[in-house]
Symmetry: C3
């Protein structure tokens, strides 16, 4: 997509300094700017770059006074950072939601329905009795099973697999390769040491405004529902086991795993590669550090936990700093023993 | 699928108390029961819920005597839990194996064969010289390379990729997005500091009754075979490297990684996010804790190991409880030093 | 593919001892050799196997003198190991690059171009304005977005998803299910405790001779590019976040995660399940142990680091060996306290 500087200034209610007919088709970092790109300068620390940038234009504040000659054009706005994020959002919106129509071949069972503004890519698959809302975008190689419901304005990226009976809200985004509703990992040990599969007949419910990362897996419930509450943001390669509940506006970073039937509160922040055992509850506003293992209930809201078997992060760091010096500590004990 | 209570009672050899023509189409937890669902009551602790449940019917024991009025219908059977699991299995069976036939467009090389009772979804792909057994279900976007063999009654879920020369047994289930037979991670360092790819020409053999989780990856052997023995159950997002052997009826939880050429014994249980280095052997019936790292052979069967560099779990927990109190321990040493 | 021993001897510039018209169609380990296979003997330790192997033929050195009768044929070459790897490479090359042509149905936007020697499998998808080089192989269920560039001789395996504006070099190999260019995990906290999606408008650049493992995820940059430099080798299920830079000829093992904007130097080796926080730099030739967490800049090249919060591996191992004996250490302190 190409825009003239005049068009962009109109969108941002700003003023062009330079040739308003110049065309840009890309947003650049100011330090990496190249012709055809537009950048912004909001932080004084980056001022030097505006004198060197190759960008065609830079968005700056009303009040910006250059201290040296500038070779690029300027678009002056009230707040350069806000202006730029407006542009970012407009750009992302255009890119993601501009797709409309049904590409062929695609598979859509006649018992299913999809609302207006649909995009269904070639090689997308929708099974029986599905109800898909308005403005839903379904990318290539998406597989949607039977009896699935998807709300309005949700984007399902390439290669996502959504299993039978999953319910997904509105304004969600499911990133490429994610698997929603695969069987929970449930096996009953038999007397001969083998395992029998426990049928997994529940589903997954994902509420509105949820983001699910690339190649993340969310298992269906054994019975009932695995539940991802509204506004939760889940990164790539995360494992959510059967019957887990993830609270509202909780953020879970990459490669974290949550075991079966655990309930994570609202507004929690879980860093990367953390692990949470099954059948526990984590209070609201808990922060869990990277690589941290949580092995029991967290009942007090607002704590920050860290460690292989987690405890309070400040206490952990004190213990860990002594751990690093254990050889010296041991030497001091030897010394004491000698002097007895 | 819809059933009357009379039909269900006939399946379970039980008796209906209430209107046997009522229809149910769903299995519910008793505490979450809604009209149209059927639940069970096996554990006395849950008795209160039978007086409140919205379920249309509840499966109870012959001997159950309500202490209050009940508004739902009952199906009385010998053992309520057994009855319910029978129902669960029948339900899961119906859902998973009811698919039959070939949807179009699908790709099936003319040199390959598939037995009776086949389901091949639209957009499934089967390469050259494959031999696929009876009652095998192949879901959408499954990619099967050349020279692959698959036994009877195996289910290959959506988006699974099975690379050339893989052999999969009977009654296996491969969950969505799993990759079977990708190249092992083998690179020979060159004098200039670059790496040369070591060709990976082996395959993967998966024996009968194996379950492979969603988005799990199993690499082919450099030469020979990566081997998953019968009855092994592998969860989501697990990494099995080239030439690994996973023993019979061994269970591996999510996000665990097993490095090249290691051999895991039979009846082992490996918790989530564990890691096992390459070229070692783990004895039968070993239990490995969550987030545990195994860096050397485990020769005695039946041990339970834990820790970043694992040792006996009881010893680990003793050390870790002192680790938590290292600041106090350090204070005691300071105290002793002062008093000298 | 079948070859006579005479054909193989010709390729390797060696001599056959035995029937040169015998046919082999497989490379076997000498200890597992079966008729129809060819093996090699390079290491004296394996000599015993040549007297027992079922292989049709074994590649041996010019100088090899059997100490017992041998039932298989021999191909004598200067260096048996080199000869065998030549054969391995030829075999792998044939298997992987023999695919040519366009299978149907496949989707290829008319605005995109692909060079000579193309393979595009059934159900492959290529969006708008893509430029794809010569001898590029695109397997089933590969999804390529808009404005993607791919160099010559690159192999894109089954089910790979390549998002808009990704640039991939020549001689790369992207293994099944990998996701390249998914949105970075960026959300701005709002006053009401919810999160707003930060548009991710950058891309991913992958230079020449890079290998990306199965189901690995590489996020696009928020702005600018996530960059994987030439010769880097990345294993399965690795997470590379937005704006990360991975240096030349750096090797990253399975299930490692690298957080946003971190820069990994050249010739680094990162073991499995390691984690690196965001916004740090790792010097060239750093070795990072398995399960290790890196929480700050590594400025000195060539170090080896280990631990949950990493430090020098030798120091870590000293501390850890004392950690294992903390109960005894505590007893010694008690003993000292008693004796005061």
């Amino acid at each position: 997509m190409e825009f003239t500087l005049n068009q962009i200034a109109a969108i941002l209610q700003g003023k062009v300094e330079g040739d308003g007919d110049q065309i840009v088709n890309r947003l650049d970092k100011i330090q990496d700017g190249q012709p055809g790109g537009i950048s912004f300068l909001a932080n004084e620390k980056y001022e030097q770059f505006i004198y060197e940038t190759g960008s065609t234009a830079v968005i700056v504040s009303d009040k910006f006074k250059p201290s040296k000659p500038i070779s690029c054009s300027l678009i002056r706005v009230k707040n350069a950072y806000t202006g730029f994020t407006q542009l970012l959002e407009a750009y992302a919106q255009l890119t993601k939601t501009s797709k409309v129509g049904i590409e062929q071949p695609s598979y859509f069972d006649t018992s299913s329905t999809q609302g207006d503004g649909a995009y269904r890519a070639a090689f997308s698959y929708v099974g029986k009795n599905c109800t898909i809302g308005k403005e839903v975008k379904i990318y290539p190689h998406v597989s949607i099973g039977d009896n699935v419901k998807i709300g309005d304005h949700t984007i399902i990226h390439a290669g996502v697999k959504i299993c039978n009976s999953t319910i997904i809200g509105s304004y969600c985004e499911i990133h490429p390769g994610a698997v929603i509703g695969s069987d929970g990992f449930g096996f009953a040990p038999q007397e001969d040491g083998s395992y029998k599969t426990i049928p997994q007949i529940g589903n997954v419910i994902i509420e509105d405004h949820v983001s699910i990362g690339a190649n993340t897996t969310i298992d269906c419930a054994t019975m009932g529902s695995t539940l991802i509450k509204k506004g939760a943001k889940i990164d790539n390669l995360v494992q959510i086991a059967h019957n887990v509940v993830v609270g509202e506006h909780t953020v879970i970073a990459s490669q974290t795993g949550i075991s079966g039937s655990s309930e994570i509160g609202n507004h929690c922040v879980i860093a990367g590669q953390a692990g949470i055992v099954g059948h526990i509850k984590i209070a609201d506003r808990t922060t869990i550090g990277a690589k941290t293992g949580i092995s029991r209930n967290v009942t007090t809201p607002g704590k920050t936990l860290f460690g292989l078997i987690a405890f309070d992060i400040k206490d952990f760091l004190k213990s860990y700093s002594i751990f690093k010096n254990l050889p010296q500590l041991q030497d001091r004990i030897k010394e004491l023993e000698k002097k007895q």
